[in-house]
């Protein structure tokens, strides 16, 4: 069971939260191509390692916030408020894993 440190309420149990998918995903402008738009809709980084994601503390303060979590160990490396930038994370599996060049499938 995940125990997630809400930036406002402290550590709480997983069932108090709602998972909201990856964070720091930018919503494209209206004029983008179908390909770019559907990549925003459906494309997923889905990393094995650190995942930046957002959660809602539904049964607590009602706030959405960001979590950096290792998808293999479930270790929570950071939580931070909505709007704050990605923290720099030390160690392997950190931001490096995300620097991979991404070519979109079609």
């Amino acid at each position: 069971m995940l125990r997630i440190p809400c930036p406002h309420c402290g550590v709480r149990d997983e069932p108090e939260f709602v998972f909201g998918g990856p964070s720091h995903v930018e919503r494209p402008a209206f004029g983008v191509s179908d390909l770019e738009w559907t990549d925003y809709l459906f494309g997923r980084e889905n990393p094995k390692g650190v995942h930046f994601e957002r959660w809602l503390h539904e049964f607590g303060c009602g706030r959405w916030f960001n979590v950096a979590r290792d998808t293999v160990t479930h270790e929570i490396l950071a939580t931070y408020r909505m709007g704050e930038p990605k923290p720099a994370l030390p160690g392997p599996g950190g931001p490096d894993a995300l620097r991979f060049p991404v070519v979109r499938g079609s």
């Binding site: 069971m1 995940l2 149990d13 997983e14 069932p15 998972f19 998918g21 179908d34 390909l35 559907t38 990549d39 809709l41 459906f42 494309g43 997923r44 980084e45 889905n46 990393p47 094995k48 995942h51 994601e53 979590r69 998808t71 293999v72 160990t73 479930h74 991979f100 060049p101 991404v102 070519v103 979109r104 499938g105 079609s106």
Partner: protein, 414 residues
């Protein structure tokens, strides 16, 4: 290969079973193959088998990073059904079920297919209407289905509690659906493929692709570089990780789906029961354990273990359906990493990289698809175009918005 039949078995029994041969050869990878299949799960092995069997392509290797069947194919709840909503799904899955019906003999390996019937429960009038829509769709697709009254359900599964917190108001059954033995399916395909000359290489992890001029030339592995004319990715939970090695970004989220078994008991449940509304499905294995599955953890996970909350929800739901199971004991729980697509329909076919094919997105329900998945992928690879049954399952459907949303339509996916 010594055939598996009563005569040979008895002969061996008398000789202390000393004369049996390895079910599949332990292969060292060669330098080059016509086709490399990445991933030794059911789909990868079946693809290799049909390539060799139906298309005469025998210089094929299946590269498995661990042991074959160690992925989802060896940790699923064994349910096979073809009661899908959309005709494209239904015809594909029914093809699979039909292949399952003769698979034991085809592979010379008893996969213990038990077509004991599968009941989908409805807990409200609204759900019953959706069930009727679903059951009729299945019939329209030429697949058997039958709407059941609560009384009929009670007869087919006497242990069920019709007066649950969300009472059971009806349901429908697909009688040809059922379970089979997952390990046997994996081993049966491996043995049959190996007998046709396919190399099954365990402990060989693909770490990169050799791509030049938009065409795949081979793979880098933990055991060196191997060249190949064509490569199939069939790695389920690791689809995003492996596809990214080829520069592709997939519409896939990997999640943990758990399952569990009770201590084994004498037969008490003769059908498979699924409740979509309260997220549980239950059957009893031939060894006697009650095999229980439920919803997945809803966040990305490569942990290959499930969370406590999902386990509690599932067990609670099972006891709502079967209160008399309360005193049974949970013996083991485990999880697999399932590759979930936005529309719960698989991704199969060609990729933007020439010679590279993809088979993934099975999510919580690709065990039942193993024979058809292998058959249609082999055909796709051999002819470099999608097999007619999987035309709608291509990776390109997302950009068109042409989702095949089984989850949205039927509300169930296993």
């Amino acid at each position: 290969m010594t055939r598996y039949n009563a005569w040979n078995f008895l002969r061996q029994a008398v000789q202390g079973h000393r004369g049996w041969h390895p079910a599949w050869g332990a292969a060292e990878p060669r330098r080059h193959y016509e086709v490399i299949v990445v991933g030794g799960g059911g789909h990868g092995l079946a693809t290799a088998y049909y390539l060799a069997k139906k298309h005469g392509i025998r210089r094929v290797a299946v590269l498995e990073k661990g042991w074959i069947g160690g992925g989802n194919s060896g940790r699923n709840t064994q349910v096979s059904r073809s009661n899908y909503f959309y005709p494209v799904s239904s015809s594909f899955y029914d093809h699979s079920l039909k292949l399952y019906e003769t698979l034991g003999r085809e592979l010379d390996f008893n996969v213990m297919l038990s077509q004991r019937g599968l009941i989908v429960l409805a807990h409200s009038e609204h759900e019953l209407e959706l069930n009727r829509r679903w059951a009729n769709a299945i019939r329209m697709n030429g697949v058997d289905s039958e709407i059941l009254t609560p009384a009929r359900i009670g007869k087919l599964a006497p242990a069920i509690n019709l007066h649950a917190r969300f009472p059971i108001v009806g349901g429908f059954i697909q009688r040809r659906a059922g379970i089979s033995r997952h390990d046997a399916v994996v081993w049966g395909y491996a043995r049959a493929a190996s007998a046709l000359g396919v190399d099954i290489v365990q402990g060989c992890e693909v770490t990169g692709f050799d791509i030049a001029g938009g065409r795949v030339r081979g793979v880098h592995t933990s055991r060196g570089t191997i060249t190949a004319d064509r490569v199939v990715m069939s790695v389920a939970g690791h689809a995003s990780v492996v596809a990214r090695l080829a520069g592709l970004r997939l519409p896939i989220t990997t999640m943990a789906l758990q399952a569990m078994v009770t201590e084994p008991l004498k037969p008490v449940l003769d059908v498979v029961v699924i409740s979509a509304a309260i997220h549980a499905y239950v059957s009893q294995s031939d060894r006697g354990e009650i095999v229980i599955g439920g919803g997945s953890d809803v966040y990305n996970s490569y942990a290959q273990k499930g969370g406590l909350p999902a386990m509690h929800t599932t067990v609670g739901a099972v006891l709502e359906l079967f209160p008399s199971f309360s005193r049974l004991r949970l013996m083991r729980q485990w999880a697999g990493m399932v590759d979930v697509t936005p529309d719960t329909t698989p991704i199969m076919g060609l990729t933007p990289v020439e010679g590279l094919y993809i088979n993934c997105g099975w999510g919580t329900g690709g065990y039942k698809a193993i024979p058809a998945g292998g058959d249609t992928m082999a055909d796709t690879v051999a002819n470099n175009r999608p097999h007619p049954l999987i035309r709608e399952f291509g990776l390109d459907r997302f950009a068109r918005g042409a989702l095949v949303d089984e989850g949205a339509a039927a509300g169930v996916a296993h």
